[in-house]
């Protein structure tokens, strides 16, 4: 992306979130707040069984209940097979299509069976109780081993062995690589289900008009994805669906990257009744709708005495639950980005398998398969370092890809990649030099320091032909000299709206407070890929910068005419357009924008006279843009933990997380991303677990009383963010990405720190007190 050589004035500035004032005074923009006159309340009936066939449904009593306006059972809805994930077109080759809106075959507890819309939520809930469903229970499988056993029940037609997806990827000669090694290390690592815990639950309001046009409000991460899924599932043209962009949503973290039954069911019930229908999840429903995919990994690495990795192989098993949803793509991302190319290695073999079980559906969650890989890879790096007597930092430095290297597989070369500097600066900040050997501490409470690195990519256009990548925007100047941005790129809480205002202000030479994010919907703005894969700043920000640049071109053309100067001789500073090297030949952006929107006839003392249209017409820039490239980002997390050797409790005391994310657009926002990533990482490492009853598939941790995520008292008081700002030429003002990177390393770093403190290595998440005591031989 072309960047003019100039001093940056707004980009790089520490600015407050543009939505903060609204959010501290009530937060009116959340989809949860949307209501409409005459609105009905929808509720969904869910299966209590993990595996069953519905033999009979009788909804007559529910339909007869006063106040009930619509009831949907499987017989009442379209029977199109689809994949619910937003980031691939439904018919893409890479997506596994195995879902019906309402299916008579039940594959997990909580699968939606029927829906009701009524005048009040209470009536809707009462109506659900009146729906009689007769189930024929089928034998269920809850573990990978049960699911792949010869006698296992088959969950889907045409998916023998309950294998939803199987991928093999190899480079070099894996056998020769292992033969070349001095030592071979092997380990099995397991990760659990965790929920994204967005604070705003999933909710939608769908309103159909008499011609069948739908207006959709929902808390989700992709306007156009929701439109495409609704069009496909309901078999109606996309032009009949208008998905409205919420000003912001209450968190997503990947947990709102698929259509759930609520949106199409609300649409159908609205079309039937002619009234808006609102459906909201209870928190319990949110907890069983999507989660981070659980993995079992068998990791094997061959290494020379000098620390050179010669071969690396891995078999990864992903338990996707009753439907594949994200399970196919998380698997690929996990293998190809999370495991295969984090370190240099000539001989690689990876085999990944996504397996159906009767557990809850897994999904995509910030990091998307990479944290699971890092948990294994980064622990094994430490195991090897210790066995070879090499410092863990040194071992990593010896095996890192180098800046400037071509990526072995994807068009995401290591154009800018300063992970080495992240390691060095992070080590210094945590006091790595004072770290002692494993289990060296004495007394009841012992301390340890650990690290883990992450190497991931920005956006996902590189090598993923099935994924959407375009973003677009409209940037428009107002007569008062301010600019509005309209884009479908949505703010999940990462500060996108603020970043975009900074980018546009910088590009147009406007003060930061003269740029606003405004309304958008799928009928008015260009297509946008989902807000996923840490693409907000780099890809969508790039598109928004391009729209601003196009508006700038028009602005300068008008100004040149007004100043009788050449466009090439103009500079924009502080809202004024100057003829270069002069201080008195200028027009303000406000002057130009005002003239642009003025009549083409002007009033003089002699009366109205034609003024010519040459500088008239709104100054506007549009874009629809996809980067051709996915730059690599790196991070090194250092953590100090304290372990209570009597209780097994681990507390995180100090975190230093160094990232190479390119140019930092808003340092305050970037720090927030790191701090939130660390929090989610601590939850993933130490406490969070969606526990299920393995006899019946029922979630036992379906609310925040049973599902423990970190509160302010469980968080370390010291979290330091270090940013290594390599300037990535393909990104807006040199920016790359951050969000997911911040959550990939924490669990692995904490596991390594626990080992350093206690000498006990724990290869399954979460690292509970029981596991710590057991690994220490104290249980």
């Amino acid at each position: 992306m072309e960047t003019r050589s100039m001093e940056l004035e707004v980009v790089g500035m520490r600015v407050a979130n543009v939505d903060a004032l609204d959010k501290v005074t009530g937060g009116r923009g959340f989809p949860m707040n949307v209501t409409m006159p005459g609105m009905l309340h929808g509720r969904m009936l869910r299966s209590p069984y993990p595996h069953a066939q519905i033999v009979r449904i009788d909804a007559s009593a529910a339909r007869a209940l006063p106040g009930v306006h619509a009831v949907l059972t499987p017989a009442d809805v379209p029977q199109k097979v689809y994949s619910p994930v937003y980031f691939v077109p439904t018919l893409a080759v890479g997506s596994v299509q195995d879902m019906l809106l309402l299916d008579t075959r039940i594959r997990s507890v909580g699968q939606v069976v029927a829906a009701v819309a009524a005048t009040t939520p209470e009536i809707a809930e009462a109506a659900l109780d009146l729906i009689e469903v007769e189930y024929e229970e089928l034998p269920a499988v809850f573990t990978i081993d049960e699911a792949i056993a010869d006698a296992a029940p088959q969950l889907h037609e045409g998916k023998p062995g309950n294998i939803a997806k199987h991928v093999v990827h190899q480079t070099g000669d894996i056998d020769a690589g292992f033969a070349d090694a001095d030592t071979i290390f092997e380990g099995v690592y397991e990760t659990q289900r965790v929920h994204t815990c967005y604070m705003e639950g999933r909710v939608c309001v769908v309103s159909a008009d008499r011609e069948g046009n739908l207006t959709v409000h929902a808390s989700m991460q992709h306007l156009f994805g929701l439109r495409e899924k609704l069009a496909f599932i309901l078999d109606i043209p996309e032009s009949k669906i208008r998905v409205v962009k919420p000003p912001y949503i209450g968190g997503g973290f990947g947990g709102k990257l698929e259509v759930t039954p609520m949106e199409p069911l609300a649409a159908l019930m609205s079309m039937q009744t002619g009234r808006p229908v609102r459906i909201e999840h209870s928190r319990r429903e949110d907890f069983i709708t999507t989660c981070r995919s659980p993995f079992r990994l068998h990791l094997k690495t061959g290494i020379k005495k000098d620390g050179t990795i010669t071969a690396r192989s891995c078999r990864s098993y992903l338990d996707c639950g009753g439907n594949a949803t994200h399970g196919a793509k998380v698997l690929e991302v996990h293998g190809l980005f999370g495991f295969m190319y984090t370190y240099n290695c000539p001989n690689r073999y990876w085999e990944g398998t996504t397996i159906y079980t009767n557990n809850m559906i897994s999904g995509g969650y910030r990091g998307y398969g990479a944290p699971q890989a890092a948990f294994a890879v980064e622990q094994q790096m430490d195991e090897m370092a210790e066995a070879l007597g090499i410092d863990p930092i040194e071992l990593r430095l010896r095996n890192l890809h180098q800046e400037g290297e071509k990526h072995p597989l994807f068009p995401s070369d290591f154009t800018t990649y300063r992970l080495d500097e992240c390691l060095r600066r992070g080590a210094e900040a945590i006091g790595w030099g004072s770290r002692s050997g494993p289990g060296a501490g004495k007394g009841r409470k012992v301390r340890g320091i650990g690290l883990a690195t992450t190497t991931t990519w920005t956006s996902c256009c590189a090598g993923q032909p099935d994924l959407y990548e375009h973003s677009g925007a409209i940037v428009k100047l107002n007569p008062d000299g301010s600019a509005d941005i309209a884009t479908a790129a949505i703010d999940l809480g990462c500060g996108q709206n603020t970043t975009y205002c900074q980018i546009v202000a910088e590009e147009l030479g406007l003060p930061f407070d003269k740029v606003r994010m405004t309304y958008a919907d799928t009928s008015t703005v260009p297509f946008d890929a989902p807000m996923h894969a840490s693409r907000g700043t780099y890809a969508a920000g790039g598109a928004i910068k391009l729209a601003a640049s196009n508006a700038r071109t028009m602005l300068l053309r008008y100004a040149a005419g007004m100043l009788s100067a050449d466009v090439e001789d103009l500079d924009i500073r502080d809202g004024r357009i100057f003829v270069r090297n002069t201080s008195d030949r200028f027009v303000t952006i406000q002057d130009v924008a005002t003239l642009a929107d003025s009549p083409i006839v002007k009033m003089t003392q002699q009366g109205p006279v034609p003024d010519g249209p040459q500088f008239r017409g709104t100054i506007i820039g549009t874009s629809s843009f996809a980067p051709e490239f996915s730059p690599i980002v790196g991070g090194a997390m250092f953590v100090e933990v304290e372990v209570d050797t009597d209780t097994g409790e681990v507390s995180v005391e100090h975190v230093v997380y160094a990232h190479d994310i390119g140019k930092v657009i808003n340092p305050m926002g970037a720090e927030g991303q790191v701090e939130g990533g660390v929090q989610q990482g601590i939850g993933y490492a130490l406490m969070e677990n969606l526990v299920f009853d393995q006899s019946n598939g029922v979630c036992l941790a379906g609310d925040f009383l049973d599902y423990k995520m970190p509160t302010a008292v469980e968080m370390p008081k010291r979290i330091e963010s270090i940013f290594v700002e390599s300037i990535e030429d393909s990104g807006p003002f040199g920016a790359k990405s951050l969000s997911e990177c911040a959550l990939i390393a924490p669990a692995a770093a904490i596991a390594n720190a626990v080992y350093n403190a206690t000498g006990a290595r724990i290869k399954s998440l979460p690292i509970t007190p029981e596991k710590v005591l057991e690994a220490m031989g104290r249980l």
Partner: protein, 158 residues
């Protein structure tokens, strides 16, 4: 069976018809249009719905509307006076304590309770004071910072 109740919310009197078991959260949001109070879990687990009842922070989802008759209720809409922000609100903006913002209003009310009862809190006091409120975006770093800033700002004024 509905009953008529008179509520005092943010200094204004409201007459509402409520079911016996209706939560204060639902009354505030659905009847009074005070949508700053957020529904997060409906089970007293997240704190998004925190309001102040008679000067004490309470989960409005776990509070019966009929139980607060006669007691002043304060929501985020009643924080600050007129267009003037409460010191906590200004500090949250300045410190970058707001990301997705869904938990923000509840945390502001919990923090208001904390500062009303402990105007000069230590960092541990602050962390404990908001430990009944979940945030998933911030790691609480800048929230804790903001509450400390607000405490100092008020001290500075006095």
């Amino acid at each position: 069976m509905k009953r008529i109740a008179t509520l005092n919310v943010n200094g204004e009197s409201h007459e509402v018809a409520v079911e016996l078991q209706e939560s204060l959260l639902n009354t505030l949001r659905n009847q009074l249009g005070l949508i700053g109070t957020k529904r997060g879990c409906d089970s007293g687990g997240c704190g998004c719905c925190t309001v102040m009842v008679d000067g004490k922070a309470r989960y409005s989802c776990m509070t019966y509307t009929l139980a607060v008759e006669g007691q002043p209720v304060r929501t985020v809409e009643g924080l600050g006076s007129g267009n003037r922000l409460d010191a906590l609100q200004s500090a949250f903006i300045e410190a970058g304590a707001v990301q997705c913002g869904y938990c923000t209003c509840g945390i502001l009310m919990a923090a208001r309770d904390l500062l009303d009862h402990n105007p000069d809190p230590t960092e541990d006091d602050i962390r404990k004071g908001i430990s009944g409120n979940l945030c998933r975006c911030t790691g609480y770093v800048k929230i804790v910072e903001a509450i400390g800033m607000a405490a100092k700002a008020v001290h500075g004024e006095a």
